[in-house]
């Protein structure tokens, strides 16, 4: 099985969010995902990175985020880690609930779960690790076979 791994340690800034989004788009294209899936992957990575920079590290210049990509014949796995106080995984409001529908925030994790096949959230000490998994199927699988 061919594996490609790359990781970046980035400042807690909007530039890092944009960089992670653009890099995920490039890696998803290279992995053979179709246009729709590439957009979903890059949007999910953007949402996770925004959470890491904004809610996790709170733009603290002393804290870093880490974005790691692992591409195999089976899936693209992206792991985003921050050094913040940690997400309360047991208290994530449902943005589709009527009382939350008109709230300004709270849709990031929902969008990640909508766009990816698997989203895992793990508390660190300190920080939060979010793992996003998009399985290879259809056009991406054919692309991988053709390139091997």
């Amino acid at each position: 099985m061919t594996e490609n791994r790359v990781s970046y340690t980035l400042d807690s800034s909007l530039e890092s969010v944009n960089m992670a989004e653009e890099t995920s788009q490039q890696i998803a294209v290279k992995a053979g995902f179709d246009e729709d899936d590439c957009l979903k992957i890059s949007m999910a990575v953007r949402e996770a990175t925004v959470n890491a920079v904004l809610h996790g590290n709170a733009y603290d210049p002393k804290k870093k985020i880490r974005v790691a990509f692992e591409s195999t014949s089976r899936a693209l796995v992206v792991t985003i880690t921050d050094e913040g106080k940690g997400l309360d995984v047991n208290n994530i409001p449902d943005p589709l609930a009527p009382e939350n529908l008109l709230k300004q925030s709270g849709r990031g994790i929902f969008l990640m779960r909508s766009f990816m096949d698997e989203v895992r959230i793990r508390l660190l000490d300190p920080g939060t690790e979010v793992t996003l998994v998009k399985n290879v199927s259809g056009s991406a699988a054919n692309h991988k076979e053709a390139s091997q």
Partner: protein, 115 residues
């Protein structure tokens, strides 16, 4: 590409033509400031033309919701025009498509505002 806006008046309705990305940071701030400025000036019939918006993230969605509630709370109305498929799909999965009054024809949208 960052976001750009321009406004025009048609039959008492303020049409805001947006282009680019509505995302955390500049895009969201521009949208927020534009709508607040219009409401402050008493312009409360607002049509956001999203035809050239290429990308919206969750912060951008939140800003659209905030604009909607800001205008409504001032007794006005805010509607959306010309959604791209990407934006349409985002509003569908977040269940906001039924919250916003979404139009795909400018003339119909303008006439739908209360006189």
């Amino acid at each position: 590409m960052s976001m750009k806006t321009s406004t025009r008046q048609v039959d008492g309705v303020t049409i805001v033509d947006l282009s680019g990305r509505i995302t955390l940071g500049e895009g969201s701030v521009i949208l927020r400031d534009t709508v607040r400025d219009l409401v402050t000036k008493g312009q409360k019939k607002i049509l956001l033309n999203l035809g050239d918006v290429t990308y919206i993230d969750s912060s951008g969605i939140g800003e659209l919701v905030s604009a909607f509630t800001t205008v409504r709370n001032q007794g006005g109305d805010l509607k959306l025009l010309n959604l791209t498929k990407k934006v349409h799909d985002l509003l569908q999965i977040t269940k906001l498509y039924t919250v916003f009054d979404v139009k795909d024809d400018e003339a119909t949208a303008i006439s739908s505002f209360a006189k």
